[in-house]
């Protein structure tokens, strides 16, 4: 396996003493695509922000994040690690031409002339498929379509050829056709620049199509981490299985799997496994002892009952439960 470019060790993020990310460790390898999945509130976006040294004000952070051995993430941001945000419209300044914003990103990092920065910006827009990039570089964000804006933001993240690009739900606001287009551009550019990609998403089809490995988070902790095809085909954590089982392709008749209950609120965590209250396998020490990630068939799984997860894992769940009438 290739070298580690980014390493995260025991990352903890809390707000007013309430833990939102609770001891997360993982590596990102050179040139890989690591998908980070989990539902709202699992800590996906917060983790992504932490990788960029952009944790919200008021949060206390502990643990270690090292990018090529350095932990000064703010200094590396835009240079060695860059963000593709969810909302391209609010990521771009409405009062500056798109090309000028890219050129400014270049000049913030590289010692080049204005003219050279401009040329690099236009080339970057051209590479993401903005038609007539030289002319469109002078246009403002509102003159771009949603898909073009998202591609311009990808161009901006890639323009300084970083080692790691973090994409935080880059396609949530787009329709299916544009989602695929944006993911394709992101994958191509990542390949061309030679960056690793950390792809935060709740789209399991995007994970299937683009990720080398998948990191599944639940309630601020690692639930499962392993090669994406293995995790998707044969999940070893019941929570991963529940995410897959809720997809339409596993529906039984018209019924989809919808787990009862909701994730525990940060600050109201149970004593044992955070997923125990919703888990069909939970028993005994699941309710008293939080499981630590352990090696299971070449992946990390945090579950006391992982040996009892059936195959197919979707068999774990009862689909028939009706809503209250």
């Amino acid at each position: 396996m290739s070298d580690v470019v980014l390493s995260v060790r025991d990352l903890r993020i809390a707000f007013d003493g309430v833990a939102a990310v609770r001891g997360l460790s993982f590596d990102v390898y050179e040139r890989e695509v690591l998908a980070v999945v989990g539902e709202s509130g699992a800590g996906k976006s917060l983790t992504a922000r932490a990788l960029l040294g952009m944790v919200p004000r008021g949060a206390t952070t502990s643990g270690q994040i090292r990018l090529r051995g350095s932990d000064d993430l703010a200094a590396l941001r835009g240079r060695r690690i860059a963000l593709v945000p969810q909302d391209a419209l609010s990521a771009l300044s409405p009062v500056h031409a798109v090309g000028d914003q890219l050129a400014a990103a270049v000049r913030s990092v590289q010692r080049v002339s204005r003219r050279q920065a401009r040329a690099l910006a236009v080339a970057a827009l051209d590479r993401v498929g903005i038609p007539d990039a030289g002319r469109r570089a002078r246009a403002y964000p509102h003159e771009f379509s949603g898909g073009m804006r998202q591609r311009a933001v990808i161009a901006m993240a890639m323009v300084n050829e970083p080692d790691v690009v973090v994409a935080d739900e880059p396609t949530t606001a787009l329709d299916t056709e544009r989602q695929e287009q944006v993911l394709r551009v992101l994958a191509e550019q990542r390949e061309a620049v030679g960056a690793a990609l950390v792809l935060v998403t709740h789209d399991m089809d995007a994970v299937r199509a683009h990720a080398d490995r998948a990191l599944v988070l639940y309630a601020g902790r690692l639930s499962e981490l392993g090669p994406a095809p293995d995790v998707l085909e044969r999940p070893r954590a019941p929570y991963t299985a529940s995410l897959l089982a809720s997809l339409p392709r596993y529906a039984r008749g018209r019924r989809l799997l919808a787990l009862p209950g909701s994730p525990p609120a940060p600050g109201a965590l149970p004593a044992g496994c955070a997923f125990a209250a919703r888990c069909p396998l939970a028993a005994g020490r699941c309710h008293t002892e939080e499981p630590e990630p352990a090696d299971v068939d070449g992946r990390l799984v945090a579950c006391h009952r992982t040996d009892d997860v059936p195959h197919p894992a979707t068999d774990l769940f009862d689909f028939q439960e009706k809503q209250p009438a």
Binding site: E39, D175, L243, P248, R254, R255, A258, P324, A325
Partner: protein, 227 residues
């Protein structure tokens, strides 16, 4: 003789100035049926959603709802019919007033339609919240105190308060996580089974459409494309 469809849209045209957003679209929808409108952003799906209840008056064409052509009716004539066709939108927070408690949001249609009385109104609201899988205690909360899925359920409860026959669901689950989305889709399926509602289901996720809809209309550039 077969009963007439719940909704019969004929040669519908919606224009914004010179731009034709919906170009001669025709379809029917039966009670108890889910008809999906699928297509990329800007293809005219949401324009159809607004033109059916005449929230945006179409340029031409007919919209027969329970046999009556809505395009011929005045606002006054539409008023008693509008409760029977309700909309549920994509953004669960944006479709409820941030300053109204959930119970007031659900009670509002009853009050506007003159069907509120202080004796059984609150019970009716509590029953509606339970019907969509929310504990009635959520009635005391404001929208921002609910999760996205809970908020979308509250929006559905508000739509049900009017006792509709037709729900126009404009991307009702696109903003939700997969597991939450599954719960809302199950709820909609249960409501349809129990109440015989017709659904016009606008969605751009092909997997969800294949799962949830009885029939699918593909749209592109304002027109239905051949199946």
């Amino acid at each position: 003789m077969s009963p007439s469809p719940l909704l019969d849209v004929r040669e519908l045209v919606v224009r914004y100035g010179d731009f034709t957003a919906v170009d001669r679209v025709s379809f029917t929808l039966d009670a108890g049926e889910t008809l999906a409108l699928n297509g990329p952003s800007g293809c005219g799906k949401s324009s159809i959603a607004l033109a059916i209840p005449q929230l945006r008056r179409p340029h031409s064409g007919e919209v027969l709802f329970e046999g009556r052509d809505l395009t011929e009716l005045s606002e006054r004539e539409l008023r008693p019919l509008r409760p029977r066709m309700q909309l549920v939108f994509q953004d669960p927070y944006g479709s409820l007033s941030p300053r109204h408690r959930i119970r007031d949001a659900v009670a509002e249609p009853l009050k506007v339609q003159g069907r509120w009385n202080s004796a059984d109104g609150p019970l009716r609201v509590a029953a509606l919240l339970e019907r969509v899988g929310l504990d009635p205690s959520y009635g005391d909360r404001l929208p921002h105190e609910l999760s996205g899925g809970q908020c979308q359920r509250a929006g559905i409860a508000r739509a049900l308060a009017s006792e509709p026959r037709l729900l126009i669901l404009d991307e009702p689950v696109s903003a939700l996580d997969p597991s939450v989305r599954a719960g809302v889709l199950n709820l909609l399926a249960d409501l349809q089974d129990d109440l015989g509602l017709g659904y016009l289901f606008i969605c751009h996720d092909p997997a969800v459409v294949r799962h949830f809809a009885h029939r699918v209309l593909e749209m592109r550039d304002g027109r239905l494309s051949a199946p």
